[in-house]
């Protein structure tokens, strides 16, 4: 078993956060001074093949973060709630799949939630300085006091994770329990997971652990077992071990090859510069023209002509009719 993280200390000194703004590597809509020393990269590894879909992670998440989810209905499936919400940062998604090769039914259960991408689309899309930050240990966190609730992060996210609260109109998602990790604990979901399908440690440890798990799975005939750490988003700090790593989308639509949408890249990239340039150019063109051609003034003759036209004295034919 991956050894458990020792119980937390409740002594004031011991539980002082061990990372802070100083460790930011990205900050939405603003620049940060890169830290001189980088934190060890951390990761949460979700071994789907060990997961029994008990929802302890959901429960622990609600408890630790004091989230109050509404009591829903049964919709003919085990999933509840039916989707992530501003109060449900993580959600078990159940898929019944008939494996055509083995002929056996497989119940694929995936814990959905923020993947803490190395290249976070939410942060890229966010217009509000400091609403979304990324620490050098890989955690992507939302600062609600800076969030304006525009929902751009939702459009930026390749995994469809953030949700906007109807009450305070700010975006919510898994924080990877930054408050716990800051004191050397693992996230609440990982601590709870009964079968330790969720483990937590440095990203290197997690990759090594995944290898160990994949070997076991291959020995049991899952020759496509593998690690899900999608390069399209620069890798993630929440990774999956899948029995069918060749078909991630089997697991309730886990993106096969996620990356930040090209549309978002264009919108947040070239459009911004092109737009400013164009508007600037228009204004400048006006100025330049005024300087060169000068104003177009109405002359006295114009006035007279108008006057005589009005009084009918001027019978000068319309121009072009002459």
């Amino acid at each position: 078993m991956f050894p458990p993280i020792p119980n937390a200390s409740v002594a004031g000194e011991a539980s002082r956060p061990r990372f802070s703004e100083r460790d930011l590597v990205r900050r939405s809509a603003s620049e940060v001074a890169l830290p001189t020393t980088r934190l060890t990269e951390i990761a949460k590894l979700i071994d789907v093949t060990k997961c029994i879909g008990c929802k302890a992670c959901q429960s622990a998440c609600l408890e630790w973060n004091n989230l109050h989810e509404d009591i829903g209905y049964n919709h003919g499936v085990y999933d509840n709630p039916m989707d992530l919400t501003p109060n449900t940062f993580t959600l078990m998604r159940f898929t019944e799949w008939d494996n055509p090769e083995s002929g056996h039914l497989e119940w694929l259960i995936r814990k959905d939630g923020c993947m803490h991408c190395a290249d976070p689309g939410c942060l890229k899309a966010c217009p509000s300085p400091g609403a979304i930050v990324q620490y050098s240990n890989g955690i992507v966190d939302f600062f609600h006091e800076n969030c304006i609730g525009c929902g751009y992060c939702i459009k930026g996210c390749p995994f469809n994770i953030p949700r906007i609260s109807k009450t305070d109109h700010t975006a919510y998602k898994c924080t990877l329990c930054s408050d716990r990790i800051a004191v050397g604990q693992g996230p609440a979901c990982q601590k709870a997971c009964p079968t330790q399908a969720i483990v937590f440690g440095t990203k290197d440890e997690m990759k090594a652990w995944a290898e160990f798990r994949i070997k076991d799975l291959k020995s049991r005939g899952f020759e496509h077992a593998g690690l899900y750490d999608p390069p399209g988003v620069g890798g993630t700090h929440v990774m999956y071990v899948l029995h069918h790593a060749d078909k991630p989308s089997l697991y309730a639509g886990l993106p096969d090859d996620p990356s930040i949408s090209r549309v978002v890249k264009v919108w947040k990239g070239v459009t911004k510069y092109f737009g400013m340039a164009l508007m600037g150019a228009a204004a400048l063109a006006g100025l330049a023209h005024y300087a060169v051609a000068g104003p177009n003034k109405v002359t006295e003759e114009d006035e007279d002509s108008a006057g005589s036209l009005a009084t009918g004295r001027d019978l000068q034919p319309p121009r072009g009719h002459a």
Partner: protein
């Protein structure tokens, strides 16, 4: 067993099973002033108490975090419950029920005062402990005196009481169970059972 000595134990034993290097983490030390960014760890300065999950018989070790120390006679308000990483069986993990233990302790449908429902009534009304307990003792004595069977048809001493029954809890402690056992057995009640089968 005071929180302190448990803490010491937790340290020593957890050293025995060193886990991820995260404990150390290679974190940069930061000034208290700089930590505004990360939400403060909300278990700071709470009192810890070792307990056992109240649900199934895996008997997972849990740690109750409370504001106030009941052992010091203070009012202890439970703020969080989490798995005990030192427990051999659960290693700190909990199931979806165990992970939400705090909310069963704080359940909106938790009972807080004795209630009485009169025959034919459609509601419970509050009743004082003293009144209710006296009422029960009296009802028991009257029923026992009226229906106690000292000897059976063959004249054998059987000393049984069949018109009153008792269902014992499934989540009370052995000590409570034993006290219950002594009281119930001494009265001669036979319709005595627990939740072993259901």
């Amino acid at each position: 067993m005071s929180g302190i000595s448990r803490r010491d134990f937790l340290r020593t034993s957890s050293a025995g099973i060193a886990g991820t290097t995260l404990g150390a983490f290679g974190f940069t030390e930061v000034q208290a002033a700089m930590v505004a960014a990360v939400k403060p760890f909300h278990l700071v300065n709470t009192t810890e108490t070792r307990n056992t999950c109240t649900y199934c018989s895996v008997a997972c070790g849990i740690i109750i975090y409370s504001k106030g120390d009941i052992r010091k006679g203070e009012h202890a308000d439970i703020v969080h419950i989490e798995g005990d990483a030192d427990h051999p069986t659960n290693r700190g993990t909990l199931c979806p029920k165990g992970a939400a233990l705090r909310d069963i302790v704080k359940s909106a449908t938790r009972l807080t005062q004795p209630m009485l429902r009169k025959p034919g009534s459609d509601k419970f009304v509050p009743v004082a402990w003293e009144v209710a307990l006296d009422k029960i003792a009296r009802a028991m004595k009257d029923d026992r005196d009226a229906n106690f069977i000292a000897k059976n048809a063959d004249g054998t001493t059987v000393n049984r009481w069949l018109t009153t029954g008792f269902l014992a809890a499934s989540a009370t402690t052995n000590e409570t169970a034993y006290a219950t056992y002594k009281v119930v057995r001494s009265t001669g009640i036979l319709a005595f059972d627990n939740q072993a089968r259901v």
